[in-house]
Subunit: 227 residues, 2 copies
DNA sequence: ATGTTCCAGTTAGAAGCTATCACGGAAGCT
DNA sequence: AGCTTCCGTGATAGCTTCTAACTGGAACAT
């Protein structure tokens, strides 16, 4: 019983290291062949052990992918947090947008792990939604406060009455609407870009992204149309 | 060799029917379990034959999925064409948006087959890009003509110089930009909605979609900010 | 009506995957 | 040292895609 208060035993440290190594190989595989092609067997071979050994570290393939999704969320939240910290509060929307695009382009398959095609049966664990809330909070914080005399559009009124999300955040309805627009519009451009739907069209997607961002920032003074 | 000019032999008709039946089962499977879970074996069993029999009709799994993608594109293009025909030219953006959302909600996995996570190795066949062009043309046709005195934003100027896409279409740069915004913004909302990223947030996604559409239509008079 | 050709569908089998089980041995704890 | 815990192995079941060889019957030709 001596030193039962040890925070990490050697075995725990070894386990954590192997788990991390497994994830590392998994990321590499996902980046090159996509998440659906992830093979525990192949990972085991790359690590020099036999297939069933991995089941000591992950219950099954789904648990590994779930952890990868969790890590991806965590990584995006960290990138947002860093971008927020680097820029002043209330003026960091551009910084957030840039961080998002940089993060997405760095590893498209990681982006799709979060925002890509969902598997019908799969349900994300609760803590990922907590991280998603964190991301949304960073986004709401970065939105400039709406002018007090701004008129409230019908959709903003609807949002004001249905804000179970962001219930803790003291954001005006116009801010909620802007945050949603930021999310959906930039995701729209990014997702199509990463999926290659703009390839061969000739124009610079980065400029489209920037233009959409400019639209979002320009609307800071005057809230979106009748939305 | 007699009657080689016969348009369809009985055998060809039989083949076409079986191929259609296979696709029908494939769609059903995709709708319930996603494209990655599509199993030729399961389809064969549902049709009362053994697995390898399907290889008489499709070279491999990829060819079947490719044909499903082709059909999905075709279906979306037809939906667009119908929506365009039902509304006046130059005023049908709202009709197109409604058709798009209806089409997407009818079978989310079909939508993801086109706009979802891409498989890194996979390359869509050339004719799908032809259908994609058809879709884009319908979209450009539906966009109202920009006022002649409208100023040209920097991004619109860039588009004017890089329009290898839509080279055949007599659309003004502002129209190209609007079509892109229509595509990316509505896809942004739809894709997040279908993936379930709004579930639990409390508000009505249909209203968000409508609000984004209103923004796009309101900008018909005054082109998007500095984009 | 009688070949002849062609083709759909079968079974068998290779190679791959996930996942479970029982075993041997090494590492850590007392 | 002795005991326990747990890692990694090989064997196995069941699934998948896909190939190969074979059979039976339909369509076609004479």
């Amino acid at each position: 019983m001596a030193t039962t208060t040890r925070t990490t035993t050697p075995r725990e440290r070894y386990r954590a290291q192997i788990r991390a190594e497994i994830k590392q190989h998994a990321w590499q595989q996902i980046a090159t062949a996509g998440a659906s092609a992830l093979s525990l067997n192949a990972i085991a071979k790359q690590m020099g052990m036999s297939g069933p050994a991995l089941y000591r570290y992950y219950l099954n393939r789904d648990e590994l992918i779930t952890e990868l999704i969790r890590d991806a969320y965590r990584s995006l939240a960290d990138a947002f947090r860093a971008a927020s910290a680097a820029s002043g509060s209330g003026t960091g929307l551009g910084a957030l947008a840039h961080a998002l695009r940089h993060w997405a382009l760095a590893d498209p398959q990681r982006y799709f792990l979060i925002y890509g095609t969902p598997v019908p049966g799969y349900h994300a664990p609760d803590d990922t939604t907590a991280i998603a809330d964190e991301i949304m909070t960073a986004l709401l914080d970065a939105c400039p406060a709406a002018p007090a005399d701004a008129s409230v559009s019908p959709f903003e009124a609807h949002l004001a009455e249905h804000r179970t999300w962001a219930a803790d955040h003291p954001a005006a309805p116009a801010t909620l609407r802007r945050a949603l627009a930021f999310w959906t519009r930039l995701h729209g451009v990014l997702s199509l870009e990463l999926a290659g739907h703009f390839t061969g069209m000739g124009f610079d997607v980065g400029r489209l992204f920037a233009a959409e961002l400019q639209d979002l920032l320009a609307a800071a003074g005057s809230p979106p149309g009748r939305g």
